[in-house]
Symmetry: C2
Subunit: 212 residues, 2 copies
DNA sequence: GCTATTGGGAAGCTACACTATCCATGTCAA
DNA sequence: TTGACATGGATAGTGTAGCTTCCCAATAGC
C-alpha cells in the first residue's frame, strides 16, 4: 500500500506520517523507485502503536522512538525493557528540594529491601517513586500507610501484568505486551481507580441513587 | 511576606509567581498599598500544590485552575470533587474510531453495573476507561482478564484512598487529600507498579543477583 | 501527454508554560 | 533626604513540542 492508504487505514494525516518517518517512529517503506515506497500491515500496526503511546500514554516523541528502538532489537530481552526502557516514561521534573527527595529515596529503598523486591539500584522507577513520595510530603500529606498499601497492591498488579506478558507466544509479542500493558495499564488503572473512588466515596458519604 | 520571600521559600522564580497570579492559580496577596502586597503561609502551601500538580501530575494550567476553584468553594462537597472535578485529569484525545470506543464503553458500563459500582453515568472516568480499553484493542491486545483483575485492584486501592481522605479532620483537608491522593497517587502507584513488575519479571525470567 | 500523487525536505504554525522588559510607585539603609 | 533597589502590574518575547504547509522533482495511472 502507499502512504495515502496507510493514512486512510489509521486516520493519521499524510503529513503526520511523513513527520513520523522523519523522526524515526516508523521504519521507511520499501522503495520501489526513487520516489515511490510500499508500506504493509506492520506499518499500520506500528502507526497505531505510536498514536496510542502518544494519545493515551502521553509519551514524548523522543521517548517513543527509544522505546520502539528497544522493541526492534534483534534479540529482545523482556526483562531488560521492563527494567530500563519503560521506566523512563515516568520521569518528572524534580519539584522538591534535593534533601527531601534523598530522604524519600531512602524510604523507598528500605521498603524494596524489606519486601525482597529484585529491583536494580539504578532502576528509574525507584527515583520516580522517591520523587512522588517527596511531593506528597511537600504538600503536607502523611503517606506512611498509603505507601505500604500501594506497594501491596503493586505486587498484585505486577503478577497480573506478567501473566499478560507471558500469554504472548513469542519474545516479540511479549515485548509488545510489556510495553502496551505498562503504558496503557497505567491509564486503565487510573480510570478504574477514579470510578472505584467515586463508588467508595458514595458509600462513605451517602449514596445518591439518581444516576447510577 | 513579599513576593521575593515567597519565591525563596518555594523555589519558584518571581516572574513565574506573577504569571500564576495572572492565571488565577494563586489568590492575590493582601494589598497594603497600590503596588505592595503581602503573602502568607497559605500562599506558600498553594504554590507548592500548584508545582506538584504541574510537575508530578502534569496537569495543564487551566485544569489546575478549575481544580483549585473547586477546592476553594465555600461549602465543599468531597464526593462532588471526586466525581467531577478530578476525572478531567484523565482526559485523552480519542485515538480510536468512535465505534470501537462505544463498544468499549458498553463493556465498562456492564462491568460497573455487574460490580454494583455507584458511579454517575456521565462520570468522565467511564469514558476515559472506555478509551483506554479501545486503545488496547487498537494495538491487538486481549484485555478481558486484565480488565477484571484491574477492577478488583481498583476496588482495594479506592478503599485505602478513601481512608486517606477520611483521616483529614475537616472538609477542607479532606478535599485537599482527595485531590493530592488522586493525582499523586496515580504517579506513586505507577512507579511502584514498575518496580513490582521488574521484581516479578526477575522471578519469572530468571534472577539476576548483581544489582539488587 | 497530462493530471494527480508520491517521497522528501524546509519552513511555518499553534499551544503552552514560562521569561524578559518596562514602568510608576514604594521601601529602606545611609 | 536621597538614591539604590524591590514591587505590582502589564505587555511582549522565548523555547519546545507536535504537527502542518509549501515546495520540488519524479512517477503513476489514465
Amino acid at each position: 500500500m502507499r502512504i495515502a492508504e496507510l493514512s486512510q487505514k489509521t486516520g493519521v494525516p499524510v503529513p503526520t506520517i511523513k513527520y513520523y518517518l522523519r523522526e524515526g517512529l516508523l521504519p521507511p517503506g520499501e522503495l520501489t523507485s526513487p520516489n515511490q515506497a510500499r508500506y504493509d500491515d506492520r506499518h499500520v500496526q506500528r502507526l497505531r502503536l505510536v498514536r496510542v503511546l502518544l494519545d493515551i500514554g502521553r509519551l514524548p516523541i523522543a521517548t517513543i522512538r527509544d522505546l520502539l528502538l528497544a522493541l526492534d532489537q534483534p534479540d529482545p530481552d523482556v526483562h531488560q525493557v521492563l527494567g530500563e526502557a519503560l521506566p523512563s516514561t515516568l520521569s518528572a521534573r524534580a519539584t522538591s528540594e534535593p534533601g527531601i527527595v534523598e530522604a524519600a529515596r531512602v524510604r523507598i529503598d528500605e521498603m524494596a529491601t524489606r519486601r525482597g523486591w529484585l529491583v536494580g539500584q539504578k532502576a528509574q522507577a525507584r527515583q520516580a517513586a522517591a520523587e512522588v513520595l517527596a511531593a506528597f510530603e511537600q504538600v503536607g500529606a502523611d503517606v506512611a500507610d498509603l505507601l505500604e498499601q500501594y506497594a501491596d497492591v503493586a505486587e498484585r498488579i505486577a503478577v497480573h501484568d506478567l501473566q499478560f506478558v507471558a500469554r504472548a507466544p513469542d519474545a516479540e509479542g511479549k515485548l509488545h505486551a510489556a510495553v502496551v500493558g505498562s503504558i496503557l495499564g497505567d491509564s486503565l488503572l487510573a480510570a478504574l481507580r477514579r470510578m472505584a473512588q467515586e463508588h467508595e466515596s458514595a458509600r462513605m458519604f451517602g449514596i445518591r441513587g439518581d444516576d447510577c
